[in-house]
Amino acid sequence: MSRNGFASRFAGCVSPAWLVGWGFGIALVVFVFWTGSVLAADHAPPPDTACVGCHAANEHTYPLPSGKTLSLDAGMSQLLASVHGSGATEPVYCTDCHRNDTNYRYPHLPNPAQNREEFGKQISQNCQACHAELHRHSPGHLNAVDNPNLPDCLDCHGQGHAVTPVATLTADPVAMCQRCHQTYADPRIGQVHEELATNFGPDQDCQTCHTDAPIYPADVRCRTCHLLLQSSVTLASGEQVSLHKDPATLAGSVHGTSMAKHGYTPLRCTSCHRDAERYAFPHQPPTAQDVRHLTLQMDNLCQECHPQIAALNRDSVHEAARVRGELVAASCTDCHGSHDIQTPNEPRERISETCGNCHSTINAQYAKSVHGAALLGEENPDVPVCIDCHGVHNIASPETAQFRAASPNLCAGCHADATLMAKYDISTNVFNTYVADFHGTTVELFEKQTPWQETNKAVCYDCHGIHNILPPNDENSQVIKENLVTTCRQCHPDANANFPAAWTSHFEPSPQHNALVYYVNLFYMILIPAVVGGFLLLIGSDVYRHTGDRLRTKRKDRSKKEATK
């Protein structure tokens, strides 16, 4: 074949019309591709189009080795409705979560999860790619990778792709927690939690306490629960101890405001409830059998801050009684209170009221006495209250001979105080005249020499009464003239009507009172100097005469000797 044959054949094909036709066609294709690529830059199909292509309306399932099946349907409508769909501010694509092999990106590798829980945990790793700061997620939940019972993200935020909006979750957060936390190993704890949940305030939920950020001070946790709780713990004895504690009580006590006022840090719940024995959190069931033992369990705490007072208290009748086994004997908190401790002597009536809590019959007597009536009726600041006679922490037994022998000095503490008694126009001679008399002389000597010995001589309260002491001019007073012989007969059963006048009634002898005694004294005040003076005069004069005589004789002898010389 000649070259003219190929060329003529090529020339025969390439007609001008053919060229235009092909040229136009090529230009069109280029144009389409160019415009397409430009358009694709703005309106590219989503990256998960392929995923959706398979996983939308996919009725197939994937079996896990545990037997549980996973649906291969992505649940597109739920996904679009979820926080990751229409609720998201930015589009979330399948590959945002399923970003690599371990997160089931295409091409899907066989699933290593053995069961649903493992699968859930693996999937939960996906969430942390975006949700790095997991506030309000208990660390227990997140860190317990080895505990299959603990929840993963999906457990709370939704199965599958239907991620629940946070607002929905927080609408009833308690119910959320209760989905898992329904039963407790200790039913009492369950009961408490149930009660708390019922009483939650508007801003409170489980995470008020069960949270790690921000760190919630223990004390605040105590207050939060115990303010909400209204129920009681029943002790073995059947007694109930209320769990309700108003934090305002402690704050308003001396351990709150007063301490703050004096520059100390107010006490917190955990200052006292510091360990398991003192019922610190986590609370153990009460070991005390009854309320009394519960009180005494806490009682030795006070001495840690108040050692001197505790030392005094160890010498008290209360402590002695408790050592003997009389558990009702007052402990610190019986008088002072526990959470609500207030200044114990403000107002002053508070003192007798405190003692009266246990000693009510005595307090009732005291209230009617001259002292008690003045205290309670006129808020008198001078009359003795219980502690003025009995002491405060080292309260001595009033049953001892020692107390009795010392008691007149106790009364004299006020009744011989001139400035104090002047206010009430009461004689301060009462003590002197008592001591000058037979009874007082004896008792004072007993007190000084053998205070441990009993004496049968009357002390102030034998005649005047103890707690029921009345003014001496009161018609019911034991010492008013009409009643005096009866009073004397307590010790002098044979006393007759004249006998009471043998007592000088606390009057210094004078022409007006005890005149006979006064004149006898006067008689001897004159007689003794007169007689003894007379004797001394005679003696003195005798000494004078005899010394004189002796000197004269000596002088005479001397002059005689000189003369003979």
Binding site: V241, S242, L294, T295, V328, D334, S338, G356, N357, C358, H359, S360, T361, I362, D437, F438, T441, T442, E444, L445, F446, K448, Q449, E454, T455, N456, A458, I466, Q490, C491, H492, D494, A495, N496, N498, F499, A501, A502, W503, T504, P509, N514, L516, V517, V520, N521, Y524, L527, I528, V531, V532, F535, L536, L537, L538, S541, D542, Y544, R545, G548
Partner: protein
């Protein structure tokens, strides 16, 4: 026997024993009594402590008082014997001469007189002492009875007599003790030690110095012939009477001591309801 060494009988043995008993009881009474009068003083407190406490001090005081009372009864009986049976002179009876003697003694001491008054068996000073003891003992016994038996006393007397008796008892005690330590001690111990109460005798010098009239009376007097029959007769009357009287006195002493139980020995304890809680104990 020379005149210088001649001895003159002054006190017989019974009198000297009686005086010894008086020394004993008086001293014990003073030692156990004065601290009671001045019980507030430090020294009194100390003395009472030494005596074994106030109750023991009172017991000692009461015991010594009984001794003194018994001595007084004996004295009364012996004086009765001397006066009624022996019919010795009433040499202890004070008289006007004693007043004169006292004034003259002062005069002599102040050199207003050349010579001291001449006195008999008992000088005015000794009579003062004797009668002071009688007076004091009577007062102390009366007031002591009232203090020992105040309930019995107030049956007869107003109550105020008891504190008055106490005042008198104390005042009299002070007077007695002061008299003894001034007058008695000076005259028989300081001025010169008169041993006659222990030896029973006075020397002639002492007689001349202090009892010249007694000396003179003794020398001039005829030895009185004693009618032994009359003496025996008087004794036979006196002794039974004295015995009965003494018995009566002893019985009254017994009453004195045990007349009444003034007070109960133990003050009864009041039973007070100690634990009476107002409300069930509040929970903490």
């Amino acid at each position: 026997m020379s005149k210088v060494t001649q001895r003159y009988a002054r006190f017989d043995t019974a009198q000297r024993v009686e005086h010894g008993l008086l020394i004993l009881s008086f001293t014990v009474l003073a030692v156990s009594g004065l601290p009671q009068k001045y019980a507030n003083a430090g020294w009194a407190d100390w003395m009472i402590w030494l005596l074994g406490g106030i109750e023991m001090t009172r017991l000692i005081h009461h015991s010594a008082a009984v001794v003194l009372i018994l001595g007084s009864i004996y004295h009364l009986m012996s004086v009765g014997y001397r006066l009624l049976v022996l019919r010795v002179g009433l040499s202890m009876l004070p008289g006007w001469k004693d007043v004169v003697d006292a004034v003259q003694t002062l005069g002599y001491n102040f050199r207003l007189r050349r010579d001291p008054p001449r006195m008999g068996r008992y000088t005015f000073g000794e009579k003062v002492e004797y009668w002071a003891v009688i007076w004091g003992t009577v007062i102390m016994m009366l007031t002591g009875f009232m203090l020992w038996n105040p309930i019995a006393a107030t049956h007869l007397l107003p109550g105020q007599f008891i504190p008055a008796a106490k005042a008198a008892h104390g005042g009299e005690a002070l007077l007695a003790v002061l008299s003894i330590v001034t007058w008695h001690f000076y005259n028989v111990h300081v001025k010169h030690f008169n041993k006659s109460m222990f030896s029973g005798w006075l020397s002639r010098h002492e007689m001349e110095e202090e009892h010249p009239l007694a000396l003179a009376a003794g020398e001039t007097a005829q030895k009185k012939t004693v009618d032994q029959a009359a003496l025996r007769r008087r004794r036979h009357i006196y002794l039974p009477v004295a015995f009965l009287l003494s018995l009566a006195f002893l019985v009254s002493v017994y009453f004195f001591v045990t007349f009444e139980t003034t007070a109960i020995t133990t003050v009864p304890r009041q039973t007070v309801e100690i634990y009476a809680p107002v409300t069930p104990t509040t929970t903490p």
